[in-house]
Amino acid sequence: MLDLTPKELKTREALRINPCKTCQPVGAMYAALGVHRCMPHSHGSQGCASYHRTFLSRHFKDPAMASTSSFTEGASVFGGGSNVKTAVRNVFEIYNPDIIAIHTTCLSETIGDDMNVYIQDMDIPEGKYVVHTNTPSYVGSHINGFYNMMSGFINYLSKKTGVSNGKAAIFPGFVNPGDMRETKRLAKLMGVPYIMFPDTSGVMDAPMTGRFEMYPRGGTTIPEIISLGDCKKVIALGTITSAEPAELMKKKFKIPFSLLPLPMGIEATDRLIMELAGFSMQDVPYELEEERGQLVDILLDSHQYTYQKSCAIFGDPDTVLGLTAICTEMGMIPKYVITGHPKEDFVREADALFGKYGLTDCKARANADLFELHQLIKNDPVDILIGTSYGKAIAKAEGIPFVRAGFPILDRYVHSYLPLVGYSGTMRIVEKITNAIMDETDRNCADEDLEFVM
């Protein structure tokens, strides 16, 4: 497996090998799917929409509906205005969404299509909406696409009436429907009235009913997005993913925000709970205290199997930071912590986590790829690898246990339904990591060392 990967690390400046990120538009498409009765629209070649729908369907094992401007060479020369106008008309006629959320592509960005002008020229049916965001694929990663689409919705739709709706706007970050459900459960338990935006639960984890619904029940509604401007506070989860939309809310509507890490691990979840308590001015219910206590109990019970075990973690920046927090709380050494997303804040935050636990030999890298990670592991191995599906080749090549977490997971089922966030999500990750390490011990130990009680 990956036999051509040499141990020797060489500096690369131009060649990306086995990337750990993808392009902006897929993030925008995912964010738009988190809006109720919304049709994401890709303004570019058909291939973009096709790749992104494929990719999301493979991760969620659910339909990912989106339309495309179907650029041809002619459109690429003369501009895509006519294509997008025809497309919007056809989408409303045939698929009847309440809103179309357009994102651009490297193609339409390179030729300089001005979406503002095109949208102004459109005949949009009464009561329907068209919004857009710019998602040049050559800037940042799918993470930028996700928050740019959020900002697109806010810019077009959100209004401040001057009368507060008394709610918290919760930005969940680039996470699975299972995580959004868990975050909403925490908010409810803490008595916080909220608008979660975006919200792909009930869309990308919709149930089998025997009837295909193009627009399932889930998703943030348009009135909710409009009402974001009247929220009391923004609770933005994922310091890298949710920072820009949170700042936009502050700039546009003077709504204060708290920018928190994804609630992964005890400390980060504690921070969210304290934040929610501060908002609702309610005591933390016993139900949550019980969950937290159970989690601490589990960490103490199982620590001997994870303490000082080394791991490599890769994937999206906020998810990786969250997984790193969990691993440090388990007493592990997150030796390599890597994201493909090119924002150096990631390194600073990872270093802060290392510093908190006095870890000096750990390395965090932004704008990195899996080829580099593999080479690092070849030079100085780890006990376990944690990340997305593409890590399985490294795990197989190096014979190390592998735990899947994050985006994308293309080769397993159920993962997107269950959380990584909150005390319960953390419990799930702790179980996965501990079991993977213990299974490895069982498989490799001498017969006389096989323990029936561990």
Binding site: L4, P19, T22, Q46, G47, T54, A75, Y138
Partner: protein, 533 residues
């Protein structure tokens, strides 16, 4: 109104005018009706089509195992086409296998503004330093043509500088109307720079190339297994588990077998023109189709010993799979199917489904041309539009040294009476009265046709799979085989039978409707009555 009219009924007049030409309900079968194909998709329609890059890199070039393929562009295109098409490959002894890797120039804003050639050349330098590949291929994504990067010049400079083979494809996503343009561009590149550059002659009496076989799920390996059993030598495969190392000798084989007509017919035709090599349309999907193809190949060589050996292998293979096939047929007989895939499989799989007693009542292609539906005899009548004219139509003439046709024109005419030599009859002729054929199928038509025609199972891609399944129809992916396979040849037929049976009969279907939807949860009790005690 028939099913076709009812499906088209929802469209506005503008969309109707376009789509009605792409949707045919078979009349006066068996015969062929005209269908419009290989034209632009209506913007906004949720088409299943991909782009030119996907056809070039994703389909044809990507599976070549000894080639380091660099996607020149922003990160997405390379990322999405990384390890997702299941083109299985094993390195030749001492050779390299790049299939599990993804290489990209990961272009940034400054590269778009100031040009990306420099970055591409630096990426090649780094690739050469780390991997020492014998061959590099460059696949362009949308921005490349727009910003004017000259990838062909970079390829030339790379060959000069490093003494390796380097081929660049200007397969920007927006070119043509679907993946099809990318197939053509890839075919042209392979013809210009790879085929005919080797001189290693086959050693066996009869040698073959398999064209348009991408070894998805190991399909190509099953075909090779059977052909080798009969005694053929396989010179190269285009391109599943294929390599430049073997492809350069492709012109020295005796005969080209064409599996996927759509994606590779250009190479077959050009090799015929340049080397006088015949091509034979084969179909190794289905037991009956496989037997027919094996017999056709033997007939081409006309050697009684070869024909006898072919029969011997067929009988032995049949005996091995007969009990399994019989069982699956007993489960599936009388069922109906719909199938929407690429540009060949919707035809190929009808044969295999027939073996299992399943009739295909809806069939569609994503990016086929009229000849794939109606047969190659319509080729002179196809009107080229601007989108197709933008794709280079490479014309080659006879090679002064290597042009050696095996048969005279008269002999070929005679062979054609028996075998599909240098020709393809298309899919539609095999479809029955009332059956539906769709070109450039889309989400709405898929859903509508399933509602109207009620097939027992539907085969399509991942974008459709969960839509169809959610609607209550068993659904299998025909691009990736839902990570199963091989489905080709004799053993593959059994795998397919098993998978289709499983999709229809899996236990979970029984739970779709919860009991409270069909039974009352409120227990009635009589009021005013007297309780017995």
């Amino acid at each position: 109104m028939n099913e076709r009219s009812r499906t088209l009924d929802k469209y506005s007049s503008r969309v109707y005018k376009n789509r009605k030409e792409h949707l045919v309900q078979i009349e006066n079968a068996p015969g062929s009706q005209e269908i419009t194909a290989n034209t632009r998709t209506v913007p906004g329609i949720i088409t299943n089509r991909g782009c030119c890059y996907a056809g070039c890199k994703g389909v044809v070039v990507g599976p070549l195992k000894d080639v380091l393929v660099i996607t020149h562009g922003p990160i997405g295109c390379g990322y999405y086409s990384w390890g997702t098409r299941r083109n299985k490959a094993v390195a030749e002894e001492g050779g390299q296998n790049y299939v599990p890797y993804c290489f990209s120039t990961d272009m940034q804003e400054s590269d778009i503004v100031f040009g990306g050639e420099k970055k591409l050349e630096n990426a090649i330098a780094e690739a050469v330093e780390i991997f020492s590949p014998k061959c590099i291929m460059i696949c362009s994504t949308c921005p490349i043509g727009l910003i004017g990067d000259d990838v062909q010049a970079v390829a030339k400079r790379t060959e000069m500088k490093y003494g390796i083979t380097c081929v660049a494809y200007s397969c920007e996503g927006y070119k043509g109307v679907s993946q099809s343009a990318g197939h053509h561009i890839a075919n042209n590149g392979l013809m210009k720079y790879i085929i005919g550059t080797g001189d290693k002659r086959p050693t066996k009496k009869y040698s073959l190339n398999i064209l348009g076989e991408y070894n998805i799920g190991g399909d190509g390996w099953e075909q090779e297994r059977i052909l080798k059993r009969i005694g053929y030598e396989i010179v190269t495969v285009f391109t599943g588990d294929g390599s430049v190392e073997t492809m350069k000798n492709a012109h020295l084989a005796d005969l080209n077998l064409v599996m996927c007509h759509r994606s590779i017919n250009y190479v077959a035709e050009m090799m015929k023109a340049k080397y006088g090599m015949d091509w034979l349309k084969v179909n190794f999907i289905g037991v009956g189709a496989t037997m027919q193809s094996l017999r056709d190949i033997a007939k081409y060589f006309g050697d009684p010993e070869l024909m006898a050996r072919t029969e011997e292998v067929i009988q032995d293979e049949l005996a091995q799979i007969a009990p399994d096939m019989e069982y699956f047929k007993s489960k599936l007989k009388g069922k109906t199917a719909g199938i929407f895939v690429g540009g060949s499989r919707s035809h190929h799989y009808q044969a295999l489904l027939r073996d299992l007693g399943v009739e295909t009542i809806i069939a569609g292609y994503e990016f086929a041309h009229r000849d794939d539906y109606e047969g190659r005899e319509v080729l002179p009548f196809i009107k080229e539009d601007a989108d197709s004219k933008n794709i280079e139509n490479l014309v080659v003439g006879p090679d002064p040294k290597l042009y050696k046709p095996k048969f005279s024109e008269a002999e070929i005419e005679k062979l054609r009476e028996e075998i599909p030599l240098d020709t393809y009859a298309g899919m539609m002729r095999e479809m029955k009265e009332g059956h539906i054929v769709v070109d450039d199928y889309n989400h709405y038509e898929t859903e509508m046709l399933i509602k109207l025609m009620k097939p027992d199972i539907f085969f399509s891609g991942i974008k459709d799979k969960y839509i169809i399944q959610r609607g209550g129809t068993p659904s299998r992916q025909m691009h990736s085989y839902d990570y199963s396979g091989p489905y080709a040849g004799f053993r593959g037929a059994v795998n397919f039978g098993r998978d289709v049976t499983m999709a229809i009969f899996t236990n979970a279907w029984a739970f779709v409707v919860p009991p409270w939807k069909t039974q009352s949860v409120i227990k009635g009790s009589l009021t005013g009555g007297e309780e017995a005690c």
